[in-house]
Chain length 162, copies 6
């Protein structure tokens, strides 16, 4: 299948979805922020106290999901009905894994909303920790699964292999 | 060094920079979108015609850099004076590498502006190509170097090793 | 009833409303800006001429209602179908009372839209008059009534008592 | 002193500040959210666990301070250099007091940034708790003090009387 | 027919559309940027290479259409389902004609979205070319046709005369 | 002089202004909304009562000037220090002329801010009056003069000829 966002002459366009069905759609994305062990310890000890680093990152991800169409030029403006952002600590390599799930009843999917939530939560972790560690890497940001819509359900190979 | 964005009690705060010097600052970030070879071919053949996929991604990165403080909760609002976003095709694994450089004369650095430009350009490539390839991965988003400001110059180890 | 915006572990989340019914909803909020008598006279004499202070405040309230989900982190993005902002002069203590009503056909209510419209209209009155009176107070900002949705109609006690 | 935001004919205008000196300015505002005792208990018990209600409200206030010129029509766009938002529990009447301080080196003051931070933090508390208590009231939102700029230092009477 | 955006007393209001039918609506607007012949040549020779001037203008128009309710105070927030922006070179007088078509299934029309797309695309052409030509004129920005909604189809006289 | 917003390869970039001097800059733009005589009468009779059509359009223009860098992709974010928007009635052809002047002390000019203010004020007049007259035309939007900056003062030929 070709690129739907560019027409035959290669010009950018916003795909017309007015004839698509309104169905319930859901998408889940993940990504990881790799950091020095000491940085992870700083985040976690702060977490124990008040949870602020991840609390701020969660909120940043939620707010970014709501504004996806403002950030990604050819995304349709959507009224998402829900979004969750969660974090898991990984010991080796020391890192924080971010998972975001977005939901909507609409004519287009919410893959970009989930991916944007993960990316902005990751950027926010970088921002808050960068005085301690500038070598952090945002990595493995990808779609895990999505359901609903004419193109049906997508499940990443890594899940199928499990 | 501890986390500057959280105070002693772990509460989020916006770091006060009013006593910092105004100096010229610059930051460069990179990141990669890995994709199927056929997807890369689609992007490149479109590029040959009108350059739209990467043209839209470039513009998305530039506009996101300008709005970084709107997207990242504890970033200071900055009037960046310049930003470049560039792309390079990598053959193996098939991928597009994104490089963004932001510049400013200000009291705070522009690392987040450069990282946000790379991330949003990468998300935009995903958005435009997702009908053809949902398995793309945004990876290796990191700071390459930054100069200016009291904390001085930072150069990523990968550059030092070269 | 507990707090719907935080899950069992106290983490922020955006409440999933995808299974809620789409019904017509309406909410009315009020609030007051108390000021020196001379300040009220300034506002009113300006009103007589061109109506600008309250005209600007009305527009600020309407525009803020449209952007509520951008301002309040866990609010759902809504396409409100109408909003009114009105003002009444109160003689003692000298003050301006602001009333805002928002309407929508949606899965979630518009209480926050009405309250945001009142608050921003009040802040705008403060902004325009602050050179003359820095001691103004924004006070009594509250929900008067709301209808529609599963939780049904709410009417503030002050109205029931009348 | 008259209204600076309206010209002789009463038309709205954005006050020209290009000839004003750039000085360091700071402003502190306060406000209160009154609620049922059970609601306050809910907020506080959640606070003990993870701090989310006030954590989200703090972040909402900080982000709103950065976007004040986008929300209040005649405010100048400012690059604030710092903002703090803090909360204090009041037992009688049961309520949460919000204090916000904004700082900048600029040609105009940051009173509106501090007042906007307080108002949006208060609205956010309302939003998160509204399923439990729709009768909450946002009240006593006012400027406590400001310093810097040609008009000099302002201190609210309530502070002078102490 | 009178002005629907002002009530009997002339106050601004956002028209209530909650009882209007949801129908498919479409609107097309046009406009022209007149410029020196050398400026048009610069745009076109750049176009031949990479298409950037018009590519940036197209994207600016698409993004502005999505944000119309944020820019035009009394417009309803809409989730447009599609928008196209196209350009045509006119030789005499040397100029670029911009055509934008917006589509939606909603309770209100998308005339303002189409007109805003044309205007912002035109402003963007001015911005990119202004170092070479400050005398460019944005002109003839108008609605060409619209369909859908209770007020039915509108076709500009210039089309009827053809 | 060539196009400064595209580099040698025709790619979009944001011009680096970090080495430009900070000088006081001012720009004035004008534009016209042509309409049926009855429409102009409606606007003016409303003006006599409360001034709302033009009051809303003025505020829309002021707010758009502040957000120019958000609307025009390659514009630098600026903290404008002042902006005025004024209207004049023209009898033949029946129309409203809009004049906007923007001011700043900065490294880049404010031509785009003045032009954006005029365009958005014109779009707002169209929006408010469109139920009565869909054939209105936004026309003659152009820069009248600008001062400050390395490129010096520009005055449109129409002014020089007077």
């Amino acid at each position: 299948m070709g690129l739907t966002h560019t027409d035959d002459a290669g010009k950018a366009k916003m795909v017309d979805v007015s004839v698509k069905d309104v169905t319930t759609r859901e998408a889940t994305a993940v990504g990881t922020v790799e950091m020095k062990r000491e940085t992870l310890d700083l985040v976690l000890s702060n977490e124990v106290k008040k949870g602020d680093v991840l609390g701020v990152a969660r909120l940043a991800g939620i707010m970014a999901a709501k504004r996806t169409a403002d950030i990604i030029p050819l995304c349709h403006p959507l009224g998402i009905t829900g979004v969750d952002v969660d974090f898991e600590t990984i010991e080796e390599p020391p890192s924080i894994e971010i998972t975001a799930t977005a939901r909507i009843a609409s004519q287009t999917g919410v893959e970009m909303e989930a991916l944007t939530a993960v990316s902005v939560a990751a950027l926010t972790i970088y921002d808050i920790c960068k005085a301690a560690d500038k070598a952090m890497v945002l990595t493995g940001i990808r779609l895990l699964k999505k359901s609903g819509g004419r193109s049906g359900t997508y499940v990443a190979e890594e899940l199928l292999e499990k």
